[in-house]
Amino acid sequence: MANSKNKFDIVAHKKLYLIIPAAILAATILVILLFGAKVSIEFTGGTILQYSYTGEEINVNEVSASVSDLGFNSAVITTGSAFGSDLQLLNFSFSASDGMGNDEQAQVTAMLQQKYPDKAITLENNQNVSATTGMSFFLKCLVAFVFAFLVFIIYIAYRFKKIGGWSTGIFALIALLIDIIVVVAVFVFFRLPIDSIFMAVILTIMGYSINNTIIVFDRVRENKSLQNRQLSARELINKSVRQSLTRSINTTVTTAAALLALSIVAVIFGVATILNFAFPLTIGLVSGIFTSLCVSGTFWATWQERKIRKG
């Protein structure tokens, strides 16, 4: 259409770039509505139970399976020991989604006593705790992110004022939001716990996504100011995306390979929790390539063309 010599036309599929993220977002919302997300106790509040027992250490995986059989899916179990006596301890955290009342607590106690009759299992402590991160924490997060996004848009708009200013900032932000949606989707689809690891992954992907988008726009800025004044917005984007392609792939492949190596070694040694972190992060990296190469540039080119058409 725009450039017959050039078969590489990233802008041609612009509908797809809207449909894919929209579909992921819709599916995520649907899954949350139908099955909920596995939100950890720090965000929802819930019940903390502490049992003491004597004798040999109880296998946590066994207990965990029995607790799930009772229908409590959110339980996080840790072990410990009392100080000043040789009692062993089992700590349970149930997030509020399990709705622990007195009856439910009694169920857990009965199950444990039945399962380990000779261990003198006793309920030491039971606390109904509220969310650690209450409403004001979420409001603060919201203000922090909105403020960060605003400053981000202003900075990008200033640095890229030659190629449209505000529109670059806003499209970079859209790319960033899509990456965040993708990461949230991975956590929701794979039932990974929404906890501090979740926040770390979101923040890491944010940093990554920003880098990716800036790099494409930097090429556009350069191509426009160099010899290519007469190129259309669409040609500019295609050229810039092509130039950034190797960099994006090399950086992402290197990082992803390192993450993979990290995961493999960790899993061999039995630290499987690293997957809760490495897997969504890798998907986020891939999404970062997609949004920076396809989404932000395409929207920018479409926007520029529309502006020209309107005069």
Binding site: E42, G45, I48, Q50, T78, T79, G80, A82, F83, L89, N91, N125, Q127, N128, T132, T133, S136, F137, C141, V143, A144, F147, A148, F152, Y155, R159, I197, M199, A200, V201, L203, T204, M206, G207, Y208, I210, N211, I214, I215, D218, E222, Q243, R247, T251, V253, T254, T255, A257, A258, L259, A261, L262, V265, A266, F269, G270, V271, T273, F277, L281
Partner: protein, 470 residues
């Protein structure tokens, strides 16, 4: 940059290797049993609860403490929780759990053992959280501590805005300067006005412990007060000021029970993470050298610097800094930092390749490559620094620079801290700065320097399939 000489490469290499050694092994000297830390090494890292285990402590209000109503109880418990949270983050304990049970007035706190703790004594560990005491200023001084509650209350912890340790040059004593909240200023002015010159003391208490009982010489109206003590040392005033700043609790908290938490992943997890880190770094090095040849070698050395810099942030490096707790969010920060370094090197190397393909000489290509790459690396890093600064301001301790600077944005929210986000923001912030040092400057210096060696001037060492020779 043209004047970069051959030895520069070796200087930069030596610097990075030196940093690597110091970060990993630290510098310690021993005098008999006493160990002096000059540079903190990896062994000073405080590991998260899942890796090393920690303490589970339940605090509760004293039996005789009664809240007026439910709202007051909620507000009081929340205030106490956020104070404990701020104290943790102040000491870079960023892996913790705090839960409040309003109905039974209990606060459950879980946090990891400090680095090098071998006693695993929870009672000892809880002291790190500071005084769970109620700071009060009272009129007069009783002869027995039991009856101090009968003394009229002048001001209490919540009336104190901030405290600072100070050395009084005039009489060579250590003291703590207090800045009072408006709520305290008036009451303090009234009391000091009334007591000035009478010889009646204003006694200062942490629960039942008298800390200081100065007499009042003149009325104090400006909202500033001084705590002096007969046996105050430099350490004592610093710790007292920190405890007051960490937030004087609105009421006393007692320990209801404490226990140890076993590590869920076990100590072997720590070794696994170390090996995994080394393998991951080796993978990055192989890919970078395969893709960019000589530039890949330079990149790997620079990345070592970047990785060690990020690790030094976690250990604290200098003895005055407390180690951040190393958990998965911390590892995320390190990975992002290294990824930023990889990216800077990939961008630059790709640029240099492009310039070589257009037929530039080696020197010309190197110069153009670094120059063009810098603009975009600059934009990326500045953006990340801005975001990191906002995260630090929003979720760090209320006295930190970022928090004070961003006060106009977050003024609606009381002092609160979130360790995981704060430590991530901090790592990101330092990562971006390290990227300028290692990803840009060090790599440029090393590349220019090795390009001065005749035997290394073959352009095929920099990009494959280039015809001309530099």
């Amino acid at each position: 940059m043209k004047s970069v000489k051959k030895p520069v490469f070796f200087l930069v290499l030596a610097f990075i290797l030196g940093l690597t050694y110091l970060t990993l092994f630290g510098v310690y000297t021993y005098y008999g049993d006493r160990e002096d830390v000059w540079v903190r090494g990896v062994k000073d890292i405080r590991w998260g609860i899942d890796i090393r285990g920690g303490v589970d402590v339940i605090f509760t209000t004293p039996d005789d403490h009664v809240f007026a109503n439910n709202d007051e109880r909620r507000a009081g418990m929340d205030a106490a929780r956020s104070i404990i949270e701020v104290r943790m983050v102040t000491q870079n304990i960023t892996d913790y759990e705090i839960y409040v049970d309003y109905a039974t007035e209990r606060i459950i706190v879980r946090f990891p053992w400090r680095a090098g703790d071998v006693s695993f004594d929870p009672e000892q560990a809880v002291r790190e959280l500071g005084e769970m005491a109620w700071l009060t200023f009272r009129e007069g001084f009783p002869w027995d501590a039991e009856s101090h509650l009968d003394l009229p209350l002048v001001i209490e912890g919540r009336d104190v805005k901030r405290a600072a340790p100070n050395y009084n040059r005039d009489d060579g004593t250590y003291e703590v300067l207090l800045e009072l909240e408006p709520s305290g200023t008036e009451a303090f002015a009234e009391a000091t006005g009334r007591l000035a010159g009478t010889g009646v003391a204003i006694s200062i208490w942490m629960d039942e412990m008298p800390i200081s009982w100065p007499t009042v010489s003149s009325q104090i109206t400006g909202g500033n007060a001084v705590i002096t003590g007969n046996d105050f040392t430099a350490d004592a005033v610093i710790s007292l000021a920190n405890r007051i700043n960490g937030g004087a609790l609105p009421f006393q908290l007692e320990i209801d029970s404490f226990s140890r938490i076993s590590p869920t992943l076990g100590e072997s997890a720590r070794d696994a993470m170390v090996i995994a880190g080394i393998v991951a770094f080796a993978v990055i090095a192989i890919i970078m050298i395969y893709l960019y040849r000589l530039l890949g070698v330079v990149a790997t050395i620079g990345l070592l610097g970047q990785a060690m810099g990020a690790l030094a942030v976690i250990t604290g490096f200098f003895p005055g800094n407390a180690s951040f707790t190393l958990t998965i969010p911390g590892i995320a920060g390190i990975i992002l930092s290294i990824a930023m370094g990889v990216d800077a090197n990939v961008i630059t190397s790709e640029r240099i390749k492009e310039e070589l393909y257009t037929g530039k000489t080696l020197d010309g290509a190197l110069q153009a490559g670094y120059k063009r790459a810098f603009a975009v690396i600059f934009d990326c890093n500045i953006t990340l620094i801005i975001i990191a600064f906002i995260l630090m301001g929003a979720f760090g301790t209320p006295d930190s620079f970022a928090a004070v600077a961003l006060k106009p944005i977050f003024f609606l929210f009381g002092p609160s801290a979130a360790g995981a986000i704060y430590s991530f923001g901090f790592t990101l912030f330092v990562g971006a700065i390290l990227n300028f040092i290692f990803g840009v400057t060090a790599s440029r210096l090393m590349t220019y320097s090795i390009s001065k060696f005749k035997s290394l001037r073959n352009v095929n060492f920099y990009a494959k399939g280039v015809k001309n020779r530099g």
